[in-house]
């Protein structure tokens, strides 16, 4: 069964200190390109403190993608929360969410999603997301990035 579906959930510390928009835009762009080729779907959540990502796909594809992501200097303290076979994809395409205190997030980051083919979503109701969201809220520094 070489192509069993696996799901990986990790969180990491966001080390992007400035130019967060173009940086995130860049990550989304390359992710969409690479992930589609590798048959990976999933979601990326972020705020100024943290990233959380869900990747779904074949084992080798997740492994190879995760190896690249690990070496990315834009984040650190990568913690794997879950890595296991799964019956079906929760995300059949791509999703992206900004999770933070800033109300204007859709306004600010929404175009990133549209430009890169990600669905900018609220991602409510999903269990993984409820956990990740709670973690992200905890990790966001006081005011977040204000502009």
């Amino acid at each position: 069964m070489p192509d069993t579906l696996y799901r990986l959930v990790y969180m990491s510390r966001n080390d992007i200190s400035d130019e967060i928009e173009p940086q995130i835009g860049g990550i989304l762009e390359i992710s969409r390109e690479n992930n589609r080729q590798a048959q990976i779907t999933g979601a990326l959540m972020f705020n100024s403190g943290c990233f959380a990502q869900v990747l779904e796909g074949p084992h080798h594809a997740i492994q190879a993608t995760f190896e690249r992501i690990q070496c990315d200097e834009r984040h650190s303290d990568v913690t794997v929360l879950l890595f296991e076979p799964s019956d079906a994809r929760v995300f059949s395409s791509w999703a992206m969410a900004y999770v933070g205190a800033q109300a204007a997030a859709e306004q600010r980051f929404g175009h990133l999603g549209r430009d890169s083919g990600f669905e900018f979503a609220a991602l409510d109701g999903n269990e993984i997301f409820n956990v990740l969201r709670a973690n992200l809220y905890d990790a966001e520094p006081g005011e977040g990035v204000s502009s």
């Binding site: 070489p2 190896e67 690990q70």
Partner: protein, 540 residues
């Protein structure tokens, strides 16, 4: 291509040879290569060839990103593997050689192939030696070596199997590759040891930054075979600073630095300094001395009396090993026992101790006196311990009931049936087994219930602690537990009359410590026994 003169010669070769361009497009392939990789038309991208596993393609693509030379074994169809030797990229093209199966010794006629580790694509020892020769020939004045050793790698192999171990090594190699530069030479020395040979490195800060990055990266989680794996890395660094005479020493120095890095707690790095060499020499001398000590009869046993608190009577002695070295003087067991365990010398030293203790106990002239011998967990690693005890009894003629082995809680850190089996076998010989240094180990107390120990010896740190309510509570807890389990309790390290009185009051059974007597040579035992009887008689 200077080694091969014409295309016709290339065609005739039984070796599969191809040339790929910057985009990994095969621009030339001889028939053997085309046949092995099932290629019918050119041009064709090397990464587009049919492969049994998608993973192989990832590895191949990854390997080709690197401009240096490497090797890779891939499954071309189920059960059919090919080893690709990929040459360094020069002037927009590179040579690729395809050999059938896993690399064999006899393919080492190809220089490059012989110098490569097919699992990771890194070089091997041969390549390291070759590079050193090149450096030497060039009169290199600056170079650096990083030795990377993985922590906990053995556990991965043991628990998840060698397949997972190999997969992990491939990922580790990729992370190392991603952190280094094109002109660094990457070597897998074997097992889980990697080397980075860096030409022309002058700045120590740069090397330390690289080491920190590697320790960080290799400490991050890996996904292997459906599992998350966390390992770590320790790194030793050695540099050649303007002195090419030391080129041959680089790896050894980096290894010494690695030893130091591990010694200081894993997951860190250490830069070689000359005093490490002296320290290594000293350590070696110490090892040699220790290995000779038994043969040169430098060990002796001293005996410390154990008394019954209620009866005011000596019930026996604990045998304690002493090493008297002609130039080092007296070496503490705390120093040499751990080394003896590491070197495997503990088995023969331990055998000598048990034999000697049994023999000397036979000369005490009192059939009731017991002799206690310390046995290290390392001695319980195999069944030999049972024979050692049986032989010592047979050889000396000592009544088994007079012998007691003192073991520590460390023996029960890992639950092991074989250890329990050995304990029961010794118990069946009629020999008693006591728990030493009680309260200092981290074993769960469950083991106390699983074996009829003769005694619990309360560690001296409790006895000598400030008489706080907490220390008192601990001691009375241990004493109560002993009496519930039907095991005698011994207080070790009693130094003062107050401590003695207090323990006696609390119901402790046996006493040992400077307050009663220091350990003494065997010759003084008769005198001591006489005096002790006298003073006990006077006191009562």
């Amino acid at each position: 291509m200077s080694m091969i003169d014409s295309v016709t010669e290339l065609e005739a070769l039984a070796t599969g040879i191809a040339i790929v361009d910057d985009d990994n497009v095969i621009t030339y392939s001889n028939t053997t290569f085309a046949r092995r990789l099932n290629i019918d038309t050119l041009p064709r991208r090397l990464t587009d060839i049919a492969l049994a596993e998608a993973r192989s393609r990832d590895l191949l693509e990854w390997q080709l990103r690197d401009i240096g030379e490497s090797a890779l074994t891939i499954e071309i169809a189920p059960g059919r593997s090919l080893t690709l030797y990929i040459g360094a990229r020069r002037d927009g093209q590179r040579l690729v050689i395809a050999a059938i199966g896993w690399p064999h010794r006899d393919e080492s006629t190809l220089d490059l192939a012989a110098q490569l580790d097919p699992l990771t694509g890194f070089g091997n020892r041969l390549m390291y030696a070759e590079r050193l020769r090149e450096f030497e020939a060039l009169g290199a004045r600056y170079a650096a070596v990083l030795v990377i050793d993985l922590d906990h790698f053995k556990q991965v192999n043991d628990t998840l199997g060698h397949g997972a171990g190999d997969e992990l090594l491939v990922l580790v190699a990729q992370r190392i590759r991603a952190s280094t530069r094109g002109n660094d030479t990457l070597i897998r020395l074997g097992g889980d040891e990697f080397v980075i040979l860096i030409p022309d490195e002058k700045r120590r800060e740069g090397l330390e930054a690289l080491a920190r990055r590697l320790v960080d990266l290799l400490g991050r989680p890996f996904l292997v075979d459906g599992h998350q794996i966390n390992i770590g890395a320790s790194i030793g660094i050695a540099t050649l600073l303007g002195d090419s005479a030391q080129l041959q020493d680089l790896l050894r120095h980096a290894d010494l630095a690695l030893y130091e890095a591990k010694h200081q707690g894993r997951a860190g790095h250490y830069v070689f300094q000359s005093h490490l060499e002296q320290r290594a020499f000293d350590r070696r001398d110490f090892e040699v001395d220790l290995r000779r000590a038994l043969g040169l009869r430098q060990f002796t046993l001293h005996y410390q009396p154990q008394t019954s608190m209620r009866e005011q009577r000596v019930i026996g002695f604990e045998a304690l090993i002493r090493w008297e070295h002609p130039t080092r003087g007296r070496v503490s067991p705390l120093e040499f026992i751990p080394l003896a365990e590491e070197l495997g010398e503990i088995a023969s030293i331990g055998r000598w101790v048990i034999r000697q203790a049994c023999q000397q106990a036979m000369t005490w002239g009192d059939e009731r006196l017991s002799v206690a011998v310390n046995v290290s967990p390392a001695q319980f690693a195999d069944d030999a311990i049972v024979d050692v005890v049986r032989d010592a009894l047979a050889h000396s003629g000592l009544a088994p009931a007079r012998l007691e082995l003192e073991i520590t809680e460390g023996l029960f850190l890992e639950e092991s049936e074989s250890i329990m089996r050995r304990l029961w076998a010794i118990q069946e010989l009629g020999v008693a087994i006591a728990i030493d240094d009680f309260g200092t180990g981290y074993a769960s107390l469950g083991y106390l219930n699983s074996f009829p120990f003769s005694k619990i010896k309360i560690d001296k740190s409790f006895i000598q602690a400030e008489p706080s309510p907490r220390a008192k509570a601990l001691i009375s807890g241990i004493l109560a537990m002993g009496s519930n389990l039907g095991m005698a309790t011994t207080a070790e390290g009693i130094e003062t009359l107050e401590q003695y009185r207090q323990l006696e009051h609390e119901g402790c059974n046996l006493a040992q410590g400077y307050y009663i007597a220091r350990p003494m040579p065997a010759e003084q035992i008769a005198d001591f026994l006489g005096q002790f009887r006298l003073s006990a008689a006077q006191a009562s």
